[in-house]
Symmetry: C2
Subunit: 211 residues, 2 copies
DNA sequence: TTGAATTTCAAACAAGCGTTTGATACGCTT
DNA sequence: AAGCGTATCAAACGCTTGTTTGAAATTCAA
C-alpha cells in the first residue's frame, strides 16, 4: 500500500471527519446529528461509533487547530512592525472565520462552540483560544507600550477578537438586517480594513489615557 | 378581583414566564426543556401547552423588549452630546447583557438566540435588533459627521455592538481564561469605560480616514 | 482458495424530547 | 349544596436522539 492510497476503512474515517467538520461548524455540537454526518459521508449510522467510539470523540478528532497555529506562526515571523502585523492577523483571522471556501475553515467549528459549552470546550480553550489571546496580548503590548495596565491590554485584545467574532457569530442576524450580505473575499478584506483601522485608533487611545 | 391580586391561573402563567426567561437565557431555545421550565415554576409538564400552546409560543411571550426600548428612549432624551450619549448607552447595554441581578436581564434571552436561528429570531431582529442598530447608527453618524460613508458608519455600529456582545456571548470561554472573572457592577463599569474609550477613538479615526 | 479478522449494514434499543389525553380537583355562580 | 367551566395532574403518545447488536459483506494474509 502506498502512502497516498488509503485502505477503505481509512477512507471512511476521513469522509466521516470531513462531514463532521462540515456539520459541526454549521449546526453546532448539539444541533449536529450523527445520522446527518453519516448521510453526508455515505456511511452507515453505526460508523461513527465503530471508528471513533461516539459523537464526543468524533468532535475531539475533528478539531484541528493547525491553521490557527499557522496563522500565529506566520504572523510572528512576518518582517513587519507590530501595527502591520496586527492588520495581517485580523485579515487572516477573518478569512478563517468567514470564508467558507478557505481551507482553514476547520476552525469554524471552534467559533460555533464558544457560547455553548461542550465536553470539548476545555480542550478548545487550552489549545487554541488561550494561545491566541496570549499571542495577541504580546502584539497589543508592543503597540501600546509599557505604560498601559495589564487589564487594559487584555480588554484591548477582547475588543479586537470581539469585533471579528461578531461577524461570524451574529451572521444569522446580520443576514436578516441586510439580506444582500455576502462574505466575498473583497467584503472580508473591507471588514478587516475597518476593524484594523478602528482598533489601532482604539489602542492608541489606551496608550494616551494611561500616560 | 383587585388589580394586584391575580387568579391562581394568572399566577401560574407568570411563574411559567419567569422560569422560561431564566431557562431560555441560560440554555438557549433548543437547550431549554419544557420539563425544566415547569419544574422551576412548580407546574405540571402540560402547563406550558395549556397556557401558551407550545414551547415556541412560550418563547414568543417570554420575549420582552421594553427594557431595550427604554434604554434607547432614555438615551435619546438625555441632555448630552453624542459622545456622552454613546458612553451612557454602552454602559446601559452592558448592564443589560451582563448583570444578572438587573431587572432588564430579560433581554439576555435575545443575546442567547443570535447565533442559533429559532422561530422567534425574525421577531427579535425586527422588533429589537433592527431598531437598536438604526438608533446606534444615528448616534454614530452624529459623532463621525457627514463625510463618512454609510458602510463605514454601519461597520462602526458593528464594532461597538460586537465588543459588547463578546463579553456576554463568550462568557464560557472568558470564564475559563480567567477563572476569577466576575461581572460585578464595578467590573461592568470598567468594561463599559474601556469600550466607550476604545470606540470613540475608533470612530474618530473613521472620520479622519474619510476626509 | 480458504479462513480468520475487519468493516458495513439494517434493525432495534433506551432515553429524552414536546405534546396530548382523560380523569381529577378546584373555584365560582346559582 | 349543586352544577359547571376552568385548571391541574399522572400517564402515555409519537418522534428523534446517540448507541448497540448480530448478521452479512468485505478484506487480506497464508
Amino acid at each position: 500500500m502506498s502512502v497516498v492510497a488509503k485502505s477503505a476503512s481509512e477512507q471512511t474515517r476521513e469522509r466521516l471527519l470531513d462531514a463532521a467538520r462540515e456539520v459541526f461548524s454549521q449546526c453546532g455540537f448539539q444541533g449536529a446529528t450523527v445520522r446527518e454526518i453519516c448521510r453526508r459521508a455515505d456511511a452507515n449510522v453505526a460508523a461513527v461509533n465503530y471508528h471513533f467510539g461516539g459523537k464526543d470523540a468524533l468532535l475531539a478528532e475533528a478539531l484541528n487547530f493547525a491553521p490557527l497555529r499557522a496563522l500565529q506562526e506566520d504572523n510572528v515571523t512576518a518582517d513587519a512592525c507590530p501595527r502591520v502585523r496586527l492588520r495581517l492577523f485580523i485579515h487572516g483571522f477573518l478569512r478563517m472565520l468567514l470564508d467558507e471556501k478557505n481551507a482553514s475553515a476547520q476552525c469554524q467549528i471552534m467559533a460555533r462552540e464558544l457560547a455553548d459549552p461542550t465536553p470539548a470546550l476545555d480542550k478548545i480553550v487550552r489549545e487554541a483560544i488561550a494561545p491566541l489571546h496570549t499571542y495577541l496580548g504580546t502584539v497589543v503590548r508592543e503597540i501600546v507600550g509599557a505604560t498601559v495596565s495589564e487589564a487594559d491590554c487584555r480588554r484591548g485584545v477582547h475588543s479586537i477578537v470581539g469585533q471579528c467574532m461578531y461577524y461570524r457569530h451574529s451572521q444569522p442576524v446580520l443576514q436578516r438586517l441586510r439580506p444582500k450580505l455576502n462574505y466575498t473575499p473583497k467584503e472580508i478584506e473591507a471588514i478587516a480594513q475597518h476593524i484594523a483601522e478602528f482598533s489601532l485608533a482604539g489602542l492608541a487611545q489606551l496608550a494616551i489615557t494611561s500616560r
